[in-house]
Symmetry: D3
Subunit: 133 residues, 6 copies
């Protein structure tokens, strides 16, 4: 395990997905899934997200397109939230998913719009101060 | 068939894929595939590429990512060439395909790099003046 | 947006999926997903479903086969219900899904049969008069 | 291996793909791929194609839709030829592939039309009497 | 229906998935899905699992890899439990899914680890004696 | 880039795919695809193939199953040859691909058997001494 790449990945992953979420993932890891946590942090967040030839905003939009095509709803919802953190606007997310509908087919597009709506609702619920605050 | 949307699509399609290529496609079309030519021109190039909320350069990068995930080598090669026309640099194409390798898997990444190389070679061969010019 | 194509699509979509379902979809749409509603209605339901060279019953069976292969369970359930509306019998749906099992693999087939059962149960529950009626 | 199911499958397979093609496949089989020949003949052609609840013409159209979505060009070309033998017209094949373009995405549709054209050309070349006949 | 192949498949299927589960599946089957139960039992469990050239433990690991790539979570969870019955250790399941993450992409890997965890939790809950036993 | 992981990956990759093939790949690499060569060597061959909890023979069989499901013929052919180097027999490859036919569908199985045949033919041609030797 390359410490430098892992540390770089951990910092980017926390920036994009939120420190609390990432810390919980590591805290919940055991012998079974710790290597997966390490792989993801080092290679995915450290190696590829750490490359500077594309801005994070662009990488987020590419992920939305790819993960839609790959048909992975859990990961897609997480990356919709990550895209908002990386400065992709809701209108830009809409444009990515309209392009998905044309290139990956209408059923893929319909699924994306439903998942994005769920992600937006969760983000909005967290942002809203509780009554009485 | 909406004439305005078709005309807008035809213009964008010629810009991105080259007027000669598009004119040949229509010239070769018959009763069997003319509706596919029309659908693609109007719906894909007119409707989604004609929307102004994302720049063409971004749409090209999204297409590279999606078509890689969809595993469609003929279309991918065509869109690598289109991406170059839309101002995506070879270094940026490399970055898209490294991200494909991580998110869609190593075999997908290997295929993309081979196809991009073929596209670059064809583009370079066309750009080179014939000996004796 | 071609008004004529959109109107044709809206009528077919209501016939196949039910007017109430479609009206709710439009009523719930906002700036984010309205373009997706329009795209689906015009191109999918107006352009392709509006073509007369295949009967709706055949188009429904093709959709069951394709959407099974594409692995999109939400859309599949909706199109099982739509297929029943278009005159595909439960025995014919069974045959489509047995062919899916052979050509797309056993896990795809198992998923289809489970989703079809859920769709049938929902259709049967709606058809049953409430106790006391 | 159930002899009855195998024999039923062999007869249907020869009807749809041509006796010569099927006989060559068995003649070329050895220890490595004979079990695959047997599985395909019995399970695919005997078991599912032998069921009488859908006409062969419908099963051919379903196969074109599914194999397009599955992205298997060799098998798709073979089934385009089989579909013609089962009475699917070229116009009906066009309609199936336009529906593929909408539901599986434009790149899938483009690939299908190219493969269908190759299949038609091969069928037409075989049908044409040699010069001097 | 070949009785011998069906009986062999039924025995293997009960060994791997549990007799109770399989009996429930048949008891719940009706005209609609009985042919799917028969197909699965005879061809999948009888024909391929009944071949002796690979041990069941290897077939289970192959299934985990393939069903992950095919993106079929219900079937994957069932086959994680089946793999444990066939002697695949949790550490070996981890290794299969790390290989999935590299070859099918990180989102596929993440999904597999989540599904495996759910399967393990269900297996552990069943194994635990109820309080007071 | 972790030197140790890269060196471990380079050694394994040469063992499985042949030193000459790997050296040619690096010799042909330029700014465009060198990062992909490095990623594949370190992450795929070093990180996952270097883990000792599964024997290489098992990892090869898993790859055949996954890459078949992923529908990547170039990579599949290379991994058929690699599997032979890792001690997977032709009979075992046959068994993997029969299981692919059942779980991923008949068209996937047919493609695998064709690609395996091509790989075997190439391996046999290389093994045969030239006439006159």
């Amino acid at each position: 395990m390359s410490n430098e790449m892992f540390e770089r990945g951990l910092a980017i992953r926390k920036d994009v997905l939120g420190a609390e979420f990432v810390e919980k993932s590591f805290a919940a890891a055991d012998d079974f899934n710790m290597p997966m946590q390490e792989l993801t942090t080092e290679y995915c967040w450290g190696w590829v997200w750490g490359r500077e030839d594309l801005p994070r905003k662009t990488r987020s939009m590419l992920n939305l397109a790819m993960i839609s095509a790959l048909n992975r709803p859990h990961e897609l919802k997480m990356h919709v939230k990550g895209a908002l953190k990386n400065g992709v606007s809701r209108a830009e997310i809409r444009e990515v998913f309209l392009q998905v509908a044309i290139y990956c087919g209408i059923p893929a597009g319909v699924d994306c719009f439903r998942i994005a709506r769920e992600a937006f609702n969760e983000v909005d619920a967290q942002a809203k101060p509780a009554a009485g605050d």
